[in-house]
């Protein structure tokens, strides 16, 4: 039972948001896959549980469309790790994804606000 504890607050990731989260995470520094997963988890206060079965396909897809680039480096634990960094193309993608996300939030908020006032009445 205790193993399931960390998942209790997990929210299922909205479809299409994983790319945005990855790009955002890479904005400040290059990072390996595990690090990205941890950063997203921490940044979302443990709400987002990134499934490796989605993370690596997403990373490889982003790499193929040249939004991120990768190289092998040695981590502080002296371990060979594959590190991803944002490319200029990735930066533009990030900006697009962010503005799309903001529009989504505004739209959602608008709809939810209307629904909320109705519920109050």
């Amino acid at each position: 039972m205790s193993e399931r504890e960390p998942y209790r607050n997990a929210i299922e990731l909205l479809q299409g948001t994983l790319d945005l989260l990855i790009l955002q995470t890479l904005l400040w520094s290059p990072q390996h896959g595990y690090g990205i997963a941890q950063a997203i988890r921490a940044g979302s206060k443990e709400a987002f549980q990134v499934d490796t079965g989605s993370l690596y396909p997403a990373l490889h897809r982003l790499e193929r469309e040249k939004s991120v680039a990768s190289e092998w480096t040695v981590s502080e634990n002296k371990q060979r790790v594959k590190v991803y960094r944002l490319t200029p193309h990735g930066r533009r993608r990030l900006a697009e994804e962010r503005s799309r996300w903001n529009r989504l939030i505004e739209a959602m908020a608008g709809v939810l606000a209307g629904a909320g006032s109705e519920a109050e009445a």
Binding site: E3, H32, G33, Y34, G35, Q38, D51, T52, G53, Y56, P57, H60, R61, R64, W72, S75, N77, Q79, R80, V81, K82
Partner: protein, 880 residues
């Protein structure tokens, strides 16, 4: 830069991915250890969090560029594994495809070699044949040209960059080794310019070589090597042809063969040979002996050339009505079309037939795939459940089809290799260019393409149907999928009906050709060919003036007769069903007509005893005797159709005709002394034409065919003929030692070839259809096991069950037969040109086809039906 090259880059990426996931795991593990978990528990929970490593890798891999290739390879491997697991299915499917694809590859290799491949000459598409057409009859028959016409064509036409005449001749080569009969051509000086072939040694012909008295010769590469040891000093040397010296001026490159439907010529000489004598052929407009070839000028079109030649022919017909009145048209066709015209339609019919066989094979395999797919229902449902989309499943099924098809194609190529050998072995000289046929890159390409298209044909429908699998339904139905199964069964029933229909069309076509062939073969040729040995000899004119020719053939026939076992012997020219034909016009005494209106008939020169030797009946009058010679009265014997056409209702004996031919001097009037039976000289399918025979003692000829009927083993005489001839004159060559039966076989070789092949293909179609029908019924019985055993438990008798299954099989087959016979009614007219005395809608053939297919369907239904009656109810229900 990442190397995307498969498989090296691929391998590195695989390693990278492994390492990436491993590093992920170890980082997760050490984080957990730092957080205070025990090392074992940390590893376990890190792994649990990561999930199914193989799956993670799999979905990640799918993101890579070019992943479809990887997937294709994986699906193909998977497909191969599946095929290995069900060898029964695999063998049946691959065998069906191999038969279908192999038959196509074999026939395509023939079509490619005979019809499609260009002639082996530079820019050969612009080489055309120019032929006068007869305008005297409704059917425009091709005629030979005369030298004066040819000279006028050449001078007046503008559409050709070069035009040349050719005439095939035989000549005796003496002085180097034993006397040999050579095949050669008399060609005009532009000949090699038309072909665009240059000699490897010396020169070709120039206009000066055409002057009478010039005796020059160009040798073929083969002759130069075999007879002259490839001597480079051959140029300028004289060789002896027909007893006269000819100066060698050139040697042509190896393999030069034109026209390709004749034997490769061994020498070429100029038209000077035809320009000699008192009335040389080069100035005789009525003497039509030439083939004319030309090369289209740059920018000229074949239509333009045709129009121009027609205009020229019309003018010549006006200018020289005596000779050219009936030749007011000319035809210009590509040489390749001229060569292959006669075999194009039978070969295309065969190609259509093998296409049908392949369609049936496809229907069979599609049906098998559906049946198997129903059994794989559960596997496919599970694949769909773990996230494979419909497209993904369909793609995997298509890949499996592709694997099957390529296996079938590979096996088919082996079959084609064997099949093509067999074809070449079967066939005869009647199909031009057949020796060029073989498996080459184009045939490989064709086979590959056919295999791919085939995979689409038989794979798409099953892939679409099976990938539509509804997950919940599939699992609910306990994996059998009785509903989907029934739907598939309907589809498969449709396939069986289609197969049967196609098989019916093929069977009808084959039946018609077989009937036609049987009829053709049973046509009496007018003579009895059994145990008749024939051979040709050729006398050099220089050493053999007329009286010596007569004496030579007298001596030769007498020497042959003296041999033990020879019952009778004689000599003739031209031999029935041989390649030579001589038509001569004549005047009938008492009914004079202008020269252009003279009737013509086939003309033969014979020695006494010819009719007896070939068992041609003498209907009235008498045979020639040795006394019918120069000293005797001029006589002639005519055939029955000659007598019937020109002397209807009266006796031809005693009537007198004057054939327009003479060795020297004026033609003489001859009295008809006998009427003999008709002989199919031109071919068994042709009407017997009027003919007349003159005694060679009154009009001799240098080249004759000796015919001898023997009592015992013909090989004894065949072995001795060279010695017999050498005993008279060792400078006389002997060639074409054959039996008369071979001429007959040759005459029906092509119809036999067509009938045999179409029958083989129809047989294949029949077998495949039977297998298809059997498969569908067996499967339907398996699906309905529960229903059948319940019926039986409720009292249905075995005979009821038997009848139920057989009725279903027959109803499918008969529906197909009905559709097929209707389709055959529409398609067999394509065979019209190939049929002899059989209508394309011959009722007997159609009925026979229906019966054969019904019988086969009955047999194919019987086995599954019997199995249904033997079901053990308890066992069957338990298995359900």
């Amino acid at each position: 830069m990442r190397i995307r090259f498969f498989p090296f880059g691929r391998k590195r990426r695989e390693r990278d991915l492994d390492e990436e996931i491993a590093s992920h795991l170890s980082m997760a593990e050490s984080d957990r250890v730092e957080a205070g978990e025990a090392p074992d528990a940390a590893r376990a929970s890190a792994q649990r969090e990561l999930g199914n490593v193989a799956l993670v890798k799999e979905v990640t891999r799918e993101q890579w560029g070019g992943a479809w290739l990887e997937q294709l390879a994986r699906d193909a491997r998977y497909g191969l594994r599946l095929l290995r697991r069900s060898p029964g299915f695999t063998i049946v499917a691959v065998a069906a495809l191999a038969l279908g694809i192999g038959a196509n590859a074999a026939i395509f290799s023939v079509v490619d070699g005979v019809l499609l491949r260009p002639l082996p000459l530079p820019d050969s598409g612009r080489i055309v044949a120019v032929q006068p057409l007869t305008t005297a009859t409704a059917v425009r028959a091709r005629l030979a040209a005369s030298y004066p016409d040819f000279f006028d064509w050449k001078a007046q036409s503008r559409s050709f960059s070069a035009m040349a005449s050719l005439r095939l001749i035989g000549a005796t080569l003496t002085g180097v080794g034993p006397a040999a009969h050579l095949g050669g051509e008399i060609v005009s000086s532009d000949y090699f310019t038309v072909l665009q072939v240059v000699p490897v040694l010396g020169r070709g012909f120039v206009p000066a070589d055409d002057r009478p008295g010039t005796q020059v010769v160009v040798l073929s590469h083969d002759l130069w090597q075999s007879r002259f040891g490839a001597d480079p000093a051959i140029l300028g040397r004289a060789i002896t042809l027909e007893g006269r010296p000819y100066t060698v001026i050139g040697v042509m490159p190896r393999g030069l063969r034109f026209p390709v439907d004749d034997k490769p010529p061994e020498f070429w000489t100029s038209i000077a040979m035809d320009a000699e004598g008192e009335k040389p052929w080069t100035s005789n407009r009525g003497m039509t002996t030439l083939d004319v070839v030309a090369r289209l000028a740059p920018g000229a079109t074949i239509e333009g050339a045709r129009a121009e030649m027609n205009a020229i022919a019309r003018n010549l017909a006006r200018e020289y009505p005596d000779d050219d009145r009936d030749r007011a048209e000319a035809r210009v066709i590509p040489e390749l079309e001229r060569v292959t015209g006669g075999v194009r339609s039978p070969l295309l019919v065969l190609l259509g037939a093998v296409g049908c066989v392949l369609l049936i094979a496809c229907a069979n395999v599609a049906s098998l795939l559906l049946a198997r797919g129903t059994a794989r229902h559960r596997e496919l449902a599970i694949r769909a459940a773990i996230g494979a989309g419909r497209r993904r499943v369909a793609r995997q099924l298509m890949t499996e089809s592709l694997v099957l098809s390529l296996l079938g194609g590979a096996a088919g190529l082996v079959l084609a290799l064997v099949g093509t050998r067999w074809l070449l072995h079967l066939s005869v000289s009647n199909i031009p260019r057949l020796d060029d046929v073989g498996l080459n890159v184009r045939v490989f390409g064709f086979t590959l393409a056919v295999s791919l298209v085939t995979a689409v044909f038989f794979g798409v429908a099953p892939a679409l149907r099976l990938s539509r699998t509804d997950l919940s339904e599939a699992l609910k139905e306990g994996g059998r999928g009785s509903d989907g199964g029934a739907g598939h069964t309907r589809f498969r029933s449709g396939l069986v009906i289609a197969e049967t229909a196609i098989a019916a069309v093929l069977l009808t076509g084959a039946g018609l050709l077989l009937a036609s062939f049987r009829r053709l073969e049973s046509v009496p040729p007018g003579f009895s060919p059994e145990r008749v040995v024939t051979f040709d000899t050729s006398l050099p004119e220089s050493a053999y003036p007329e009286d010596r020719q007569t004496r030579f053939y007298d001596d030769l026939v007498a020497a042959v007769r003296e041999r033990g076992g020879v019952r009778s012997a004689a000599a003739i020219f031209p031999i029935p069903l041989g390649s030579a034909h001589v038509g001569i016009s004549f005047q009938i005494e008492g009914r004079p007509v202008p020269k252009a209106d003279e009737p013509a008939a086939a003309f033969r020169q014979i020695t006494p005893g010819y009719f007896e030797t070939l068992a041609i009946p003498i209907l009235s009058g008498r045979d020639f005797t040795p006394r019918d010679d120069k000293a005797g009265a001029p006589v002639v014997i005519v055939s029955r159709s000659f007598a019937a056409r020109f002397f209807p209702g009266e006796s031809a004996i005693g009537k007198r005709i004057r054939p327009g031919v003479a060795r020297d001097g004026e033609p003489v009037t001859r009295e008809i002394v006998g009427v003999v039976g008709d002989v199919k000289h031109r071919g068994l399918g042709e009407e017997a034409e009027p003919e007349f025979y003159v005694p060679s003692r009154q009009m001799s000829i240098a080249d004759m065919t000796v015919v001898a009927r023997v009592d015992g083993d013909p090989t004894l005489l065949e072995r001795d003929v060279r010695a017999i001839v050498a005993g008279i004159d060792k400078n006389v060559p002997v060639y074409h030692v054959h039996r008369l039966t071979e001429y007959l076989l040759d005459a029906v070789a092509q119809p036999r070839f067509n009938a045999l092949l179409l029958s083989v293909f129809a047989g294949l179609a029949l077998v495949l259809t039977a297998v298809g029908l059997y498969g569908v019924l067996a499967y339907a019985v398996a699906l309905r096991t529960r229903e059948i055993v319940i019926r039986m438990a409720l009292g249905a008798r075995r005979s009821d069950v038997l009848r139920m299954v057989v009725r279903r099989g027959l109803s499918l087959a008969l529906t197909g037969v009905g559709i097929g016979l209707l389709a055959a009614l529409l398609t067999t007219r394509l065979l019209r040109g190939l049929l002899f005395h059989v209508a394309p809608t011959d009722p007997a053939t159609f009925v026979a086809t229906g019966l054969v297919l019904a019988a086969v369907a009955l047999a194919a239904s019987w086995l599954p039906a019997r199995r249904a009656t033997r079901l053990n109810p308890m066992e069957a229900l338990r298995r359900e």
